[in-house]
Structures are given as structure tokens and as C-alpha cells.
Assembly symmetry: C2
Homo-oligomer: 165 residues x 2
Amino acid sequence: MAGEHTLTETESAVAQKLDGLVLDFEAMAIASNLFRAANAVRNHMERTVLAPHDLTWTAFVVLWVTWIWEPVETRIIAAEGGFSKATLSGVLTTLETRGFVSRSKSQTDGRLVMVRLTPAGRRLMKKLFPKFNAEERYVVAHIDPKERVAAADMLRAICFAVKTS
Amino acid sequence: MAGEHTLTETESAVAQKLDGLVLDFEAMAIASNLFRAANAVRNHMERTVLAPHDLTWTAFVVLWVTWIWEPVETRIIAAEGGFSKATLSGVLTTLETRGFVSRSKSQTDGRLVMVRLTPAGRRLMKKLFPKFNAEERYVVAHIDPKERVAAADMLRAICFAVKTS
DNA sequence: AAGAGATCGTTCGGGTACGAACTATCTGCC
DNA sequence: GGCAGATAGTTCGTACCCGAACGATCTCTT
């Protein structure tokens, strides 16, 4: 999606395949670039910050949400992180095995499982998050500072459009 | 990341955890929303357009790139789609088993594998892509038309920042 | 022409990723 | 109180997803 080939090349190639049909190339470009950007940032973070600690992107997100909101229910972590509870269950087991988080049943509601960081998990996040934020700053460096608020809003608008469907 | 909790709540919670450290909350918000948006769009597409045909997002991207550029080398598909050649190898096998693509060795370079759509694959894309583009249009509907070009540029700027690292 | 080094696709192992089915628990209504 | 329905988390099956290692092939240099 808009990788080696330029957008114009892609457009004319698509137009050939679907001549006669009306297509929204602008929407196509935004959706396409949205994924390239998200993927690129994720890979960048995994290579530069996460790989030295043998952490995946998802594992880091789980640690981050837990760190900020602990003790926290698993359904909250899944919602904040944007993945399913099935996925979270596996990642939590991985992180528990490695000694970064702990699970415990809620005292007030037997259905809930509360997640906390272990001391090792807190040490890890205290060390890792500043590095992570430094890379985030690097990633947005090429966006005009005046347009950064608009950028965040635009992305929120996309989330909103999809949620209310 | 910025799910149920507002951004301000998250910020003050993070600031408490790391008081004294200088953090770029704007960069954090953009990176965070970038992932929420990409994930939301992907899930939306999978539910509305792809699930009826039992296709995953990645499988669709592979079909799309192949459809536009066939015959095409696998390394091009991986680069255009933004995933590793290891991932592509598995997805291609799945699509080959289901009769949507075919692999064949290049005549001029024995290392290369050329990928083509089968007639069934072409029929599928001709039917599927207009639906897909309609959903893309829906996704960007909440972005001011005047800002859409800037939006695409902004996403490209992020890709560029990460690539040149 | 012959080896060193680069390139391409596959395979392997471990870790996500999701929907569906399942168990356990809670809540509401009678 | 007791049962229907909702809710939370795990498990299961299938399908990605990546880095590393691998064998096959090409290219470059001499």
C-alpha cells in the first residue's frame, strides 16, 4: 500500500482494474497511509526500545495500562489497549510467567480478576517509559508543531467514525 | 490507550508516576491515537467487508497488491503490505490452498517467486474492492474535506520519520 | 571460471490475535 | 429465596506475525 510505488502509479493501476467505477482515492490514501504509519511506528518501537528487553508491543501496552491504573481489571486493560480479552489472557500469562505482573481475584466481585505490577514490573516501566516517549517524540518530529493538535484530533475523528457504526 | 479514560486523566496519572521527568504528552497522544485509529479501522473492515468472505485483513492486502501489480514478486508484496516475508509466506500458502493465488518460479531469476491471482481471485477482488472503498470513505467521513490532503501528508511524514532511522 | 558475498523465499519456534464456547459469578425480577 | 439473564475471564482452534537460520540462486571480482 503506497510502498515502493507512488500513489499516482497505484491510482492509475487501480483505475484500470475498475474502469467505470467511482472510487474515492483520497479516502484510500488516508486509510492506506494510516496503516503504513501505525505499522512503521510499531516496528520502530519494537526494534529500538522493546527488543532489548524481549518485549512485544502488546506486552508493553499491557504493562503500561497496568502501571498507570493498577490495580486494574482485565476488561479495562483490553479496552484501553484495543485488543480482545482472549488476546489479553494469553499475554497476561506470558507476563506473569516472566514475573512482571500478578493476578488476583477481586474481593468484592468474584468474576473480576485484578492485575498489578510486581516490583520488577514497576522497575521495568520506570526505566522503559522515558525511552519510549523519547521515540514517540522522534516519530512525530516531522509533523509541523502547529498541526500536531489537529493531527491528534483527526485520528480521534477516525476512531469516532468507526465506533458509532 | 486513551480508551475509557480521558487524555487529561491519563496525563496526570502518568505525571504522578514519573514526576520530575520531562515527557512529551502531545507526541504520546498522537502515537496513541494512531494505533487506536488503525486498529479500529482494521476491525471495522474485517467485520463489515471481510468476514462474509472469510478473509483476514492481511490476506486482503496480499490479494489487493497482487491484483494491482500481478505478476509480482513476493518481496514486493511484503514491502507494499508492510509485513515480513516470513508472514507473507504463510498467508500465500493459505490463499493458494483456497484457490485465490498461484505461485511460480521466475524464468529469468531462479530465486524469485512470481505471484498471480487465479480467475477466482480476480472475481473476488472485482466484487470486494468497491465495497472496501465504500467503507474507507465512511471511515474518513468525519474529517473535514479541506484537511484530508493534510491528513494523508501527516501520515506520510510519520512513515518518513521512521524509515530514515 | 571460481569463489566470496549478497539476495530471495521458506521453515521453524515462540508469541500474539480473534471468535466461539465454556465455567463461574453476579444481578434483577418475581 | 430462586431462577433467568447478563457479565467476566479462560480455553480452544485457527490464523497471523516476526527474527533467525537455512538452502538455493545470482553477481561481482579477479
